[in-house]
Amino acid sequence: MEWDWAFVWEIMPTLLEGLKITILATILGAIVAAFVGLVLAIARRSPNRLISRPVGFIADFIRGTPLLVQLYFIFYVLPDIGIRLSPLVAGVIGLGIHYGTYTAEVYRAGIDNVPRGQWEAARATNLSMRQAWIHVVLPQAIPPMIPALANYFIAMFKETPLLSAITVLELMNQAKSVANSSYRYIEPITMVGVFFLVISLISVIALRFLEERFTRADER
């Protein structure tokens, strides 16, 4: 079977349509992950063991099991208890929760890396707990986290093809659909690979920039 450029151009609009969904799912998933991660990180720091322990276990469970199976679960099992999500929403939630367990670790490390002296100085200047978080700790904790968070953002982007299993018409699903009706796999799958590679390479460059920008600012 030969590589057919004409066919590539023919399927390009369809693939771009899928790419749009892929990017949308990634961005929405990242927002959910950023939020879920923060909640998990704070819950895991809770002095109340009835909160921190179960949350810790659930996070470990989610991190130890495949996203694909979790997606099936969200999409096909949750409706049994009355939760019916559209494919894209189910996918975004699945991605968000799965990667939230990763970002939680990033938050945790970032917060732990703020020296204890900073908490104490906040105390000694009589800032309240909330003020200490907002004005002293988070502004110092977040910049060093950004490269690590961006890393997961990229990883998540590369896992979006899983959403095809729950009928989201993202890039991979469009490619498969094209392949299914044309019986040609080489062009669509290769083009998907090219898209991923190009976007990943761009992100890697952006990531380098972020790393430089945010690790330099971290002098004390």
Binding site: E120, A121, T125, N126, Q131, R220
Partner: protein
Amino acid sequence: MPSPIIHIDNIIKTYGPLTVLDGLSMSVMPGEKLALIGPSGSGKTTILRILMTLEKINGGHIEIDGEQLYHMQKAGGLVAADERHLQKMREKIGMVFQHFNLFPHKCVRDNITLAPMLTKGIARAAAEARAMELLDMVGMADKAKSMPAQLSGGQKQRVAIARALALSPKIMLFDEVTSALDPELVEEVLNVMRKLAAETDMTMLLVTHEMGFAHDFADRILFFDKGRIVEEGKPDDIFRNPRQERTQTFLRKVIAAGHRV
């Protein structure tokens, strides 16, 4: 005779199996300048941190300016203080740390204005004017817009002192504020503190290993060992004629190590 501004009554502090303070009591009069000296691990830092409410106590009572620090009146009885009470009490106390603990993400001026604006609701303009006054006093007015990372250790410590002063506490705690500094930078910080001691009637508690400075600075010296006050008195008495064996040994060692007394 006025009543003491700090009254520590029989406090106990343990870390796991280790009892650091075992029934310590002491009083400080308003405006007094006190130096705490003693061997490493004797509990000097611990007592300052307890006064700053950075540590919890396991027993005893502390009264600051006529009010209980770790307890409060409620429903007729004395109960453990809540965060609100602590926050109110902290207004009276400021602390300067060995490692400065400046906020690295804020410029010198914002380090100083942050707390007054947030905790006292002082307007930015007023807070900044006051910050500039204080920076002027510690000789750092020209660095108001610098970031902490651009300062030397001595400069950082002077900013930290200004930051603590900005809240106008009645009591200032200084924990080995020069021991993280290069030798040639120590003097600039001590000068600021001398000036401070001379110009204000703030109550000051100072932990230091600089015996010479303790001597010049303090009205009264407390010598700590193993979580207890072994000896106290006027600087001249303590340094020239220590009565306790342990004080003598300690001073002899410190002098041998080259510290001037």
